[in-house]
Symmetry: C2
Subunit: 248 residues, 2 copies
């Protein structure tokens, strides 16, 4: 039995997120179907974390166990075979590698990097439909970045936690959060070991109130410390969010 | 009568290019329909240049004449109205501005910038389907960039000219051509006053032979000087091409 680690890219739009749901297309299900076609066995894969409907991934990680008998299987050949079975779906196995027997994609993850992209202009979104949140009011990104630094560290993030979040604790840690503007695009990068359901989208949705001038830093801090989802801003659309990288 | 200049962004995939064709959806037709809805008149618009089926534009330019009577019309309001009529199509009027009466989007253009994007990796294309050419063999981009400099200047570009090209002369001028790699992406930027039909896609398709090691610089120069389309490489897919900017 060999434990394999997969690094995976996918376009979020066609799928109801990563995780298996009866009757809905999910990334997990498509990859498990490809593995079954490859080895004629039903195999369960475990990801570093779920992604929601519409959220993209450039570096999702998952693991699974495969008994391939005494035959030799390289990571290159496994990735190639799975990609062939996945075609023409927008899911790509970027890398397949042999992992330690006790490697766990979720429990061993030490850090995750998410990127959120906003198109900040009056004109509607055209080329980037499905890849960014369109905000037409001008955003003060340097102020958003300053205020965002309040989120750094270990906190109770209930204000940014979806009501359906199943995590036991609302306490998480953010090690880096940075907002930058490049012409009419705004990027937020945020890193931490794990995040609550909708946390990144709720944080950027709330920070946009600061960027539009509706809130000042004190309003933001008050909402954050209220530990109450109803005090935060709206949930930004999934389109703009990408799970970029997971570190082990 | 006022001459208006529009700066336009569009996603190429849903359209049979820019130019009107009976019975096919084109960007020109969609914008003309939006203008007609706005002013209740049939109006012809003139673009800086056609783009092919599937080619994207981040800064196409077009002009048209509008008699709006004695009422005041700002560029902001015109763009807003046209964008409303274009919704939800992936076409955005980035800017509408009053131009000189003799301004001509095509004849006054002094420079065009095209960008071509390649995804250069073994794994298939997932997130970027429709936005890049997938080349799985490793490309030597610094060699491609060196060889591409032979295209600089004023030349007969017949080797890179589609057989259906309607231009009177195969002579054009290229003022800048640059290829760079960013991780597994390769970008070619090329600038000139005007280009032949499929010229940019045929140039990158031919340069890819150099990048893959099938051709050396002499092979490329021989093909270029042959002035014979059959001596050049294949036409790279439209997906990777964007008309970025037009200067006046």
């Amino acid at each position: 039995m060999t434990r394999w680690k997969l690094t995976i890219e996918y376009h979020g739009a066609p799928y109801c997120g990563w995780q298996m749901q009866n009757g809905q297309p999910t990334v997990q299900e498509e990859i498990e179907k490809a593995i079954t076609k490859f080895c004629q066995k039903e195999i369960r894969i475990h990801a570093a974390g779920r992604t929601d409907t519409g959220v993209h991934a450039a570096g999702q990680v998952a693991h699974f166990d495969l008994d391939y008998g005494t035959r030799t299987l390289t990571g290159f050949d496994l990735a190639k075979a799975l990609n062939a079975y996945l075609r023409p779906q927008p899911i790509a196995i970027l890398k397949a590698e042999i992992a330690a027997d006790d490697f766990h994609a979720r429990f061993n993850a030490t850090n995750k990097l998410y990127r959120y992209r906003i198109l900040n202009r009056v004109a509607p979104i055209a080329i980037d439909q499905g890849f960014a949140w369109h905000v037409w009011k001008p955003l003060d990104v340097s102020l958003m970045n300053k205020v965002a630094q309040n989120l750094l560290g270990t906190h109770d993030y209930t204000t940014f936690r979806d009501s359906e979040c199943q995590a036991k604790s609302p306490v998480r840690s953010i090690s880096r959060i940075e907002l930058v503007r490049r012409n009419d695009e705004v990027f937020m990068e945020v890193e931490g070991r794990s995040f609550l359901h909708h946390q990144v989208r709720n944080m950027i949705g709330t920070l946009s109130l600061v960027g539009e001038g509706k809130w000042d830093e004190d309003d933001f801090i008050k909402a954050f410390h209220a530990r109450d989802r109803t005090k935060g801003g709206k949930t930004a659309p999934a389109d703009g969010l990408t799970l970029v990288r997971i570190d082990y």
